[in-house]
Amino acid sequence: MVNARTDLMQGTLELLILKTLSRDSMHGYGIAQRIHQAADDLLKIEDGSLYPALYRMEARGLITSDWGASENNRRAKFYKLTRAGRKQLDAECVNWERVSQAITRILQTA
């Protein structure tokens, strides 16, 4: 039986995080919720896998983090996109378009 949910391609998680943070700053749970909601549960993402990706992206200067109060007044770590992160998002989006177009073309012709 084919699993209806799809495993994420390597590197795609960072693109999803960058896109999610492009609107406003969010904590890890908020990012996970937004991704699950937008993907309509079609992508199989373990919530915890976001954190190593977030830490790596912070180390590369794509995002920054600050502790603040959450919606329920709990202390939470909020992530936001940096200028470098925004540039990376634009570049990744262009790259994604190119790759998906190429794959679609191959699937249609081959």
Binding site: H27, R34, Y51, N72, R74, A76, K77
Partner: protein, 167 residues
């Protein structure tokens, strides 16, 4: 620049860093548990479902710690400094004629190698050697904190409104 300076001071205390990672993961797990909590679902079942959706929490914690430790803003500068010292040591060793100068060269070669080795050993993750994470404390849910907050819901509903809407 401000962010980099902030990171230098924040990351200087590894215990504080570890505590912050644990707090962040616990926050996520608690909200996930509440998300799974329904009238017909027990707290233990909700916790189990939350853990299942979250993944291997100890592995994730160790990964975050390792990334955090390796990505200290001063680390590239330290590595560059060690390479420079090593190269100076090699130059002194090759060009030195006096016995004392050669010894200094040896020292300048040995110290960066030892420092680099120490940095490597410190950066090793114990989880690479042990299947069970014996070195780290198991990250548990904060039992007492659970009733004190409401669930974060993208629909901005309170838990009661959420239960009513799902009936």
């Amino acid at each position: 620049m401000k962010a980099v300076v902030g990171r230098i001071f924040r990351r200087s205390d590894s215990e504080e860093n570890k505590r912050e990672i644990e707090e962040e993961l616990r926050f996520h797990l608690e909200l996930l548990t509440l998300e799974h909590l329904q009238p017909d679902v027990s707290l233990a079942e909700a916790k189990g479902a939350a853990l299942k959706r979250f993944g291997n929490i100890e592995l994730i914690k160790d990964q975050c710690l390792e990334i955090s430790r390796k990505s200290h803003p001063l680390m590239p500068a330290v590595k560059f400094f060690l390479i420079v010292v090593f190269l100076v040591g090699v130059l002194v060793r090759v060009n030195g004629t006096d016995c004392d100068v050669i010894h200094i060269g040896d020292l300048l070669i040995a110290v960066p190698i030892l420092c680099r080795l120490l940095l490597y050993v410190r950066g090793l993750n114990p989880s690479r050697f042990f299947s069970e994470h014996k070195t780290s404390t198991p990250l548990m849910l904060n039992e007492t904190a659970q009733p004190s907050f409401t669930i974060y819901d993208h629909r901005k509903l309170t838990p009661v409104e959420r239960l009513i809407s799902e009936k």
